[in-house]
Subunit: 327 residues, 2 copies
């Protein structure tokens, strides 16, 4: 691999001049410019990122910390982040935190030690104190944090309202809201949205909590429905629990949407594929990731942020777990 001094030698200039040329900093004469261009071409020279990082204390790596790439929500997000990073010449390190605070801290340590340019974080912990110390550009994704860093989220309240209103419009009269783990703020907001609509109607409503995975959700919902047979509409705060609900209802020998209607939240691929296919409040996951990556890169490159936080409106996708007509 050729180095900057190889280029300098071939172009008969100093390394400083080559460096100035590469970074477009300071003056470089026309002749030198040409000579350097030729030398770079000839040697097939690419500057060493590592050396550059050591010198500038900044690499072209972005850290992406998410709970678990296996969770169907995150692949698309990761893809969006990687695509955007790629477009701007950055590279992505993938970190699965498992929502484990220690692991998350460890990643912070590792990433800063690599002089990453920035971090995109989907976390339930309020790492406030940690961040401040680091002062690396950062964007919170999907789940708003307490501390004041730029954030990209879906409009959770609005989405929940959409879903709840839709269920009511389709004739549901006794609603169950399946919330996610209470540590997750976005889930809390979705429950809030649900409540806001509910309080405007003289309607029977229930709220339960369940983790975001189908198996557990299925069990919990199964039990709850068994003891509450009046329920005829479910708003699940995640598609995963919606799918769990679907299975639970099947097991109870009830049918969807005739006996119980379901609206999920997230818009993961799987929702298309289950049957009946899932009516859901779809987040624009790709857009979320893209927005976060762009915001981060803007920060990194010192461009002013027009918005310190972005809130993307979700869209209700009507599929088969809700009725076609108002009953």
């Amino acid at each position: 691999m050729p180095t900057i001094s190889d280029v300098a030698k071939l172009a008969k200039v100093s390394v400083a001049t080559v460096s100035r040329f590469l970074n477009d900093s300071g003056y470089v004469g026309k002749k030198s410019r040409e000579a350097i261009k030729k030398a770079i071409q000839e040697l097939d020279y690419v500057p060493s990122e590592v050396a550059r990082s050591l010198s500038t204390k900044q690499s072209d790596i972005i850290g992406l910390i998410i709970p678990d790439i296996k969770n169907p929500f995150f692949p698309e997000l990761a893809r969006a982040v990687e695509d955007t990073a790629f477009e701007y010449g950055y590279t992505v390190i993938l970190c699965n935190s498992d929502e484990n605070e220690l692991k998350e801290k460890h990643y912070f340590q590792t990433l800063t030690n690599k002089y990453v340019a920035g971090i995109i974080l989907t976390s339930i912990f309020d790492q406030g104190t940690n961040f401040k110390k680091l002062k690396i550009p950062m964007v919170a994704l999907d789940r708003p944090l307490e501390i004041n860093i730029p954030t990209v989220t879906t409009n959770n309240i609005e989405g929940a309202k959409l879903a709840t209103q839709f269920l009511i419009d389709k004739g549901a009269t006794s609603l169950l809201c399946v919330g996610g783990p209470k540590e997750i703020r976005s889930s809390k907001l979705r429950v809030e949205g649900f409540q806001e609509i509910i309080k405007e109607y003289p309607i029977d409503s229930h709220i339960i909590e369940s983790p975001y995975d189908f198996e557990t959700a299925e069990t919990i919902i199964f039990d709850y429905l068994k003891h509450n047979p009046t329920i005829d509409g479910i708003f699940a705060c995640s598609d995963a629990s919606a799918i769990g609900a679907l299975k639970a209802i099947h097991k109870l020998n009830l049918s969807v949407p005739e006996d119980i209607q379901i609206v999920g939240f997230d818009g993961i691929q799987m929702g298309k594929v289950v049957s009946p296919s899932l009516t859901t409040v779809a987040q624009n996951i790709y857009q979320l990731g893209q927005a976060a990556a762009k915001m981060l890169i803007h920060q990194i490159e010192g461009k002013p942020l027009e918005n310190t936080s972005v809130c993307i409106n979700p869209k209700l996708i009507e599929r088969e777990t809700t009725r076609k007509e108002r009953t």
Copy 2:
């Protein structure tokens, strides 16, 4: 951030001694050892990976090049790789190649420029010449390459045989094999396995090709089935196309498994969730990723590889797209 020389100063030794201590190379006296330990503790010192990389021309980063993390097969794989990397103190850069040769090359360039310790590659291209030049530790994952590098794959032929035999045992008499894109070697092998079983039976068989995504698969299979109504068993070389098949059959107003039985290949999550749930040849995806990562790290750390290639046997999971009893 404290540096090695801060530690040296505090411990009243030279940086060389600290370095020797850190890397356990060369002699370090007992007194120095203690002093250094204390200094490190006190300063909360962590060696700079970047500086180390520059010096040794090797980082603790592993590059993972896959076609697309959105493809449901890869999240679990990526997770396995990341987990294993984490366990051994490595970090993973995620690269989505989109099976685009240029993009893949670009990633190779970027990764080597970062002095990555090794690369795990799922590619259809035979980058032989590129690799040789780089001579970075490398492992081919899932899709065997022509060139001779360590490889981790599922036993595709065996899996296909399992599936085909199973369909025949369950009474299918006219089989359709839905292969993947012909550039993908694993898909070719699955078709081969299919053929090997078929030729032992006096059975009607068809082979078609379809990309690995449901929408397209659905269309292609729909058309094919319409013109070939005798078909009563489908072996799809991917779960994605199996799910496509499922939908196509529904559209034709036929039922699964009564009219047509289906066996997929891959064992992705989604297969559990569709209804009827998918009988499939499940790859042990996590194990694949883990094995690949371990092999790579062994190479990196100069440990001898006991096997230059690992072939993991898949397992047939019987669910609802095949009949319970032989007809």
